[in-house]
């Protein structure tokens, strides 16, 4: 059975089906991260000090516990990757498959760079005995950034598929493939937006 409306817009919705699908998925993702953000708000307004006491030390600024320059670097990496993934789509729109490969490859490399920086951050925390169970602050920090990192890994898998075996579709149905890249891009931009909110909330406030 052929999947309907992969290329043309469905008359009643005005969009091709996958676009409505990804936006519904992203709406559910907003509620998922929103739930965790509300947990953060709840923990924070109930805390006498934030980040508060961790292993006998009283911290009053998150930046004393977390590495702000590294997180700022990761912000630049992610917004850079948002540009490369939209350029990958724009390259296909301009019929430039070679440039698509270049930009999609760059997107995946930047995603790996983000994970490397994140794992260095996690590693330093663990070296200092800062584990999720040490305090509410560390608990919500690891849950929020960990879930976000899982989404980055998910993006690498999807984008890797479209750079590799999935790119065969370009030869048989270029418009369908271009739409798929737009959808993958929408997901990737969402991962970027989550980080844009996570970074100031957790590291700077």
């Amino acid at each position: 059975m052929e999947i309907p409306y992969t290329v043309k817009a469905r008359p009643d919705t005005g969009v091709y089906n996958a676009k409505l699908g990804i936006w519904l998925f992203l709406a559910s993702e907003i509620m998922l991260f929103g739930g965790l953000f509300s947990a953060y708000i709840f923990l924070r307004i109930g805390a006498p000090a934030w980040p508060g006491e961790i292993e006998g030390h009283l911290y009053v600024h998150a930046s004393e516990v977390l590495n702000v320059p590294m997180a700022a670097l990761n912000t630049f990496i992610l917004i850079g990757s948002s540009v490369t993934v939209v350029m990958a789509w724009a390259s296909l729109m301009m019929n430039r498959f070679d440039r698509f490969r270049l930009f999609m490859g760059a997107t995946i490399l930047l995603a790996f760079a983000f994970l490397v920086v994140k794992s260095i951050e996690y590693g330093t925390k663990f070296e200092h005995g800062l584990y999720p169970w040490e305090s509410n602050f560390l608990g919500i920090y690891f849950v929020l950034t960990g879930l976000h990192a899982l989404h980055v890994i998910g993006g690498i898998v999807v984008n890797g598929y479209f750079l590799g075996p999935g790119s065969k579709l370009w030869k048989t149905n270029p418009q369908y493939f271009t739409n798929r890249i737009e959808i993958a891009g929408l997901y990737w931009h969402f991962v970027d937006i989550v980080w844009i909110f996570l970074f100031p909330t957790i590291y700077l406030l």
Partner: protein
């Protein structure tokens, strides 16, 4: 996008993408710089959230093409925001309803 764009149109888009990247980079620097001042929590929260909303709005409007999206997608997102705010409201009201309960430091 189902409708085809001319190469010229896409080239114009690409220029806009680079401007948006520049704006995002500048706003990130501003966020970090303001963070180092350790403002009191309310102004710090307002500044951080306003900048984050602008940055998120730029990504959504330009990179995710929400500027030119169909009405159905707008409605879907408006409903999502309504439910998200309702969820936040439930959490905050749950916190206030436990007034009188002593928080253990």
């Amino acid at each position: 996008m189902a409708e085809m764009h001319s190469a010229e149109e896409i080239k114009a888009h690409v220029r806009v993408y680079l401007y948006v990247f520049g704006a995002l980079a500048v706003l990130t620097i501003v966020t970090v710089a303001v963070g180092y001042y350790h403002l009191p929590i309310v102004p710090a929260l307002i500044v951080a959230l306003v900048i984050a909303v602008i940055k998120g709005g730029l990504v959504a409007s330009y990179f995710m093409h929400l500027m030119t999206e169909k009405r159905l997608i707008y409605w879907l997102l408006i409903m999502t925001v309504v439910f998200l705010l309702a969820m936040f409201a439930i959490v905050v009201s749950a916190f206030h309803s436990q007034e009188g309960v002593h928080l253990v430091p």
